[in-house]
Point group: C2
Chain length 415, copies 2
């Protein structure tokens, strides 16, 4: 543990200054540390299991897992060996390798609602393609999305409007997550032009307490889509493979028509996938979507290794157990300090908030104290566990969060 080691960030500071000259704002996108509390490094150097090192060689226990992609641990030896072996033959070629067929077969075997699979690079590619497939299949235009949900950063879905036009989301209608009446109302507004409903496995909006799906809500969406002849699209980009290998709503008992995957599919190698039902095959063939690196073999080899490891080992059981231990430990600590918190979301993708913390001051203090002592959490975004988080790692992290809770209590009292 790094709790007694000095947290020096001179190299990070130097790199931020260099970055500011050649990258607008010094950094951009979801990994911009400029929005995080002081003490968070912007630049990272190395990862092993659930341990990461910044450019100043500070070590952290990583509870963000690269915002989701790392599911078996950083530099997983089995995945990296499969990727390296594929790289020694070829990666990006004039056509795909046989890996694309093997991976599509594996997804079809593994995911009950998958009759076929196609691959892309970004999660945004996958969600966008799902919408296009639904429109091509139905000949309709309207798409329902939950208010405030994140489905990617293309102009039709980016959470910030700068650079987009109103027409980019001309055919979007909004509902409230877990509120079936609001979905019915939006569907009524779409009328006979309803192409699809897009939904996340649970409500994982940044900065808000997370909300698990009400199974009745999920079943209601399925029935509505069946009745309306619209496609039910599950945006499984953030949750996929972490909550269930069969798709995140399989335990809920509701099967979507189309699912978008990315992030954890290849333990960090860049890949996205859309899977779906047979009735959408023709629509997939009609839509033209492609990319220079979409058929590259290395990420597919990595995905084969990742998914078979998840399938053939107790990785997901251990991942959930680590999440349970973290949740239990945090709850005990918060109570002991009289700090009121809420822990929401699945334990595999936990979120911690402080009661009354409308401006995130407590969350920022808490995560700022944790990062300085070697634990990488996030004040506003859900965290991610991996199969590499041992009970010892969780215990080490809890030593640090104990200090962080003490600091919150000290600064804010029991208010």
């Amino acid at each position: 543990m790094q709790t007694t080691r000095t947290h020096i960030q001179s190299r990070d500071t130097e790199m931020r200054a260099r970055a500011a000259r050649v990258i607008p704002g010094g950094m951009y996108g979801h990994q911009n540390a400029g929005t995080l509390p002081e003490g968070f490094p912007q630049f990272l150097e190395r990862g092993r299991g659930c341990h990461i090192w910044d450019v100043d060689d500070n070590e952290y226990i990583d509870f963000m897992c690269s915002y989701g992609p790392i599911i078996l641990g950083h530099a997983d030896p089995i995945v990296d060996a499969a990727a390296a072996e594929q790289q020694s033959n070829a990666d990006c070629q004039d056509g795909p390798s046989s890996r694309i067929v093997e991976l599509a077969e594996l997804l079809v075997e593994t995911i009950p609602h998958a009759d076929w699979a196609v691959f892309q690079k970004n999660g945004t590619d996958a969600t966008t393609l799902c919408v296009s497939i639904a429109r091509a299949a139905t000949g309709r235009r309207k798409v329902l999305v939950a208010r405030g949900a994140y489905h990617g950063s293309a102009p039709w879905c980016t959470p910030r409007p700068a650079g987009t036009t109103p027409e980019d989301r001309a055919h979007l209608l909004h509902y409230t997550y877990n509120d079936l009446a609001s979905v019915e109302a939006a569907a009524a507004e779409a009328g006979s032009d309803l192409a699809a409903i897009v939904v996340s496995p649970f409500r994982h909006d940044a900065g808000l307490d997370q909300e698990l799906v009400d199974p009745a809500f999920a079943r209601g969406l399925r029935e509505l889509c069946d009745r309306a002849g619209a496609a039910l699209i599950l945006d499984d980009v953030r949750c996929g493979f972490r909550l269930s290998l069969q798709g995140s709503w399989e335990p809920v008992g509701v099967r979507p028509d189309l699912s978008a995957f990315s992030k954890a599919i290849a333990n960090g190698y860049p890949l996205a996938a859309v899977v779906g039902r047979d009735s959408f095959r023709d629509a997939v063939r009609q839509v033209f979507a492609t990319g220079s690196f979409w058929f590259a073999a290395v990420p597919m080899a990595a995905a084969l290794a990742t998914i078979t490891t998840l399938r053939d080992t107790d990785a997901l059981v251990r991942l959930a157990a680590a999440g349970e231990a973290l949740r239990h430990g945090l709850a005990t600590q918060a109570e002991s300090y009289g700090v009121r918190v809420r822990q929401t979301g699945p334990v595999q993708m936990p979120f911690l908030s402080f009661v009354g913390d409308t401006e995130y001051q407590r969350a920022r203090l808490f995560t700022g104290e944790a990062i300085k002592r070697g634990v990488y959490l996030h004040p506003r975004h859900n965290w991610f566990l991996s199969a590499a988080h041992s009970q010892e790692d969780v215990n080490d992290a809890l030593e640090v969060t104990d200090v962080a809770f003490a600091k919150v209590r000290e600064a804010f009292g029991d208010d």
Copy 2:
């Protein structure tokens, strides 16, 4: 050379049958071999330099270079070593590595109109982001694109309308490449709402004879954008780094405001970049665009190795020389057989068409005969040379094209 070896494709046939069950249509996108003449393999296994092997171990001299990404040759040892070293530390992390700063600095040093750089995954990400940046910078909506030009496969630009809505391209206006009057007319229609003009370095539309840019046209676009306060966006995704390391219009003497790069930037590793002028920095900061793998370090390490190799060696000179030799050899052969052809586009990205070949029958026969004898060309898309194409490789390929021209002459006479 494989000219005397039997061209067996039993494994490819088997894999196509398996693919048809789990991938709609068996394959999709620009690498769908279903649209290519008989004899083209769908699945590829290995690449070294300019040589590639399919899943039946047939060897080919590759003149597609993975549709552009491969610029130094498949499995370039310097690039692959840099990538492997980076991979041994980390790739996809909670933040970027220092490589992002080093790469942005290298692009700013190398490309005269680049004051900053930001990175993505797909060429489509880069062109889309350029449009968003231009709209954010100008507060305007209209974007001019050349009729028939390819700028990616997102709904706003995909060449096939299935799955899109008219609103996706509500603010696009069209001009004819190299026709300044048509640009002026479109700009007049946009009026005070003109945000940007998007243009390719040359007209490289698939299936048509390629057309180099008229320098007066390029200068006219620059003047028009300056006059209108609009952004000039160069879509350098396909050409970038192959024609000039400084941006493809630097030799033309016209500097865009924003450029989109991808394909050859990292010799096959997945990366895209937008570079631009200082006056667009604030707009970049306003636009939210990001992706799970955009900040991964391995492709950036590969890009650093690729670009410094291109800068510090005679790679681009050799690449162009190989293209010159191919063009000269093909011209001599065509003339000797009395087959009338046109060779268009830069020699680094050549295109061959047959006079009067409106249905591409001659092109399909020619490339179909070539592939069976170990030369990978394309009947409708421009080809790509790499620095790994030696004069001997070109001569070996010309032995094959000589036979292919004879077959065209035999089938079509001198008509």
